[in-house]
Symmetry: C2
Subunit: 231 residues, 2 copies
């Protein structure tokens, strides 16, 4: 049996603290990127860092970002790629310890370092837009009208490789013995535990008289087919 | 009646696109920062942008970030503040248009530009930690044991002013007339509408035999007292 495939650790992706919380497992990285609806892209403008929320989709070992070609992070990319960092975070729980110090949050995150470049070919742009619609609402692409030539020109698609990426998570209960100030027994005090956090999807809102399709009424993240798609 | 207080527009916070979606209203900025449990901090390491998830709390016109003083974004701050960008994003809905081009997401975000500096005074650190616990779970601080001297020294608290911040949002239904490719009538095609997105909080998990306090069983964002606190 071979080991699960991993992305290599590099100077940019190596843990600086708590290495036990990191992973380079491709499946875990892909699954989290596929589950998340929003990511955050950091880039530089006039030597200052800027971070903005994005929608994204993964195809294989690449993440694609969607946005107007005139928007801040994407300007000039058709001339030269830029160094960026993309972070995908899913909050899983609020960790309430007995002491101030043992409060935390449960989360999963993927941090990607690399060069962001513009996708210019019509076929690749269409392929990414298909995947993006399927990422947002699996089943959606076949129901919708594809972009016109003018719409396609007004749509920016940008590629970032996952080659330099890492996964990090915190799970489980508060760690009361981690403070260095106790004798190994749990301190008395407040109730301790975790409040689980999930995304919830409300009843669809529409001005459309037709009933919504199943992928809308049964909306869920990760979507029910995701485990199979990644098996 | 005076106008609602606003933060000034500056070269860093001025909109580059869709100015109608921006606001500088202090109340809206404060409310979103107070509602969100996670924010994303961008900073530079060796002239490259990096973005990491954070927990935060607002006090007045400042945001405070919590993290180990040894963690990437915080190293060296006790010697000199660093240029950073902090973004708070809340996803409110998935916008499904009839056409590929009219898909979008409803969201609210705050983007803050400024200098991040270390908070070193014991009293200010304690005041921020009180506020941080109340931000995460209102009612929590009085139930918990405050940090020891050793724990306080191991806790990094860092301050960022909201003076250069902007609010942006997208709300409502898909905009089918926005494509430039229609004659002003809605195109036929797929069901269109919005899937609302919210955070949901599950039943508390604990190894504690005592029942959880009310602020845990009734956990909600924004918390029920928030509107009153900001009135």
């Amino acid at each position: 049996m071979s080991a699960r495939p991993e992305y290599p650790q590099t100077p940019l992706t190596r843990p600086t603290r708590r290495p036990e919380r990191f992973s380079y497992d491709k499946h875990r990285i892909h699954r989290l990127v596929d589950e998340a609806l929003v990511s955050h892209l950091a880039f530089e403008v006039d030597h200052r860092p800027v971070v903005l929320p994005m929608t994204h989709v993964r195809i294989g070992d690449d993440v694609y970002l969607h946005g107007s070609p005139g928007a801040g992070p994407f300007r000039g990319l058709e001339r030269a790629p830029a160094n960026v960092c993309l972070t995908v975070t899913v909050l899983d729980g609020i960790v309430l310890g007995r002491r101030y110090f043992t409060h935390s949050v449960n989360f999963r995150s993927v941090v990607v370092h690399g060069e962001l470049g513009a996708v210019t070919g019509t076929e690749e742009k269409l392929r990414v837009l298909d995947a993006l619609l399927e990422h947002i609402a699996p089943g959606r692409a076949r129901d919708c009208e594809p972009p016109s030539r003018r719409e396609l020109a007004a749509t920016g698609i940008h590629r970032l490789s996952l080659a330099q990426s890492s996964f990090k998570e915190r799970t489980g209960m508060p760690i009361e013995k981690d403070t260095g100030d106790t004798d190994g027994t749990e301190p008395a005090g407040a109730w301790s535990g975790v409040v689980p956090v999930n995304l919830a999807f409300g009843p669809p809102q529409s001005t459309d008289p037709a009933p919504p399709p199943d992928y809308v009424t049964g909306y869920a993240r990760p979507h029910p087919g995701a485990a199979r798609a990644h098996a």
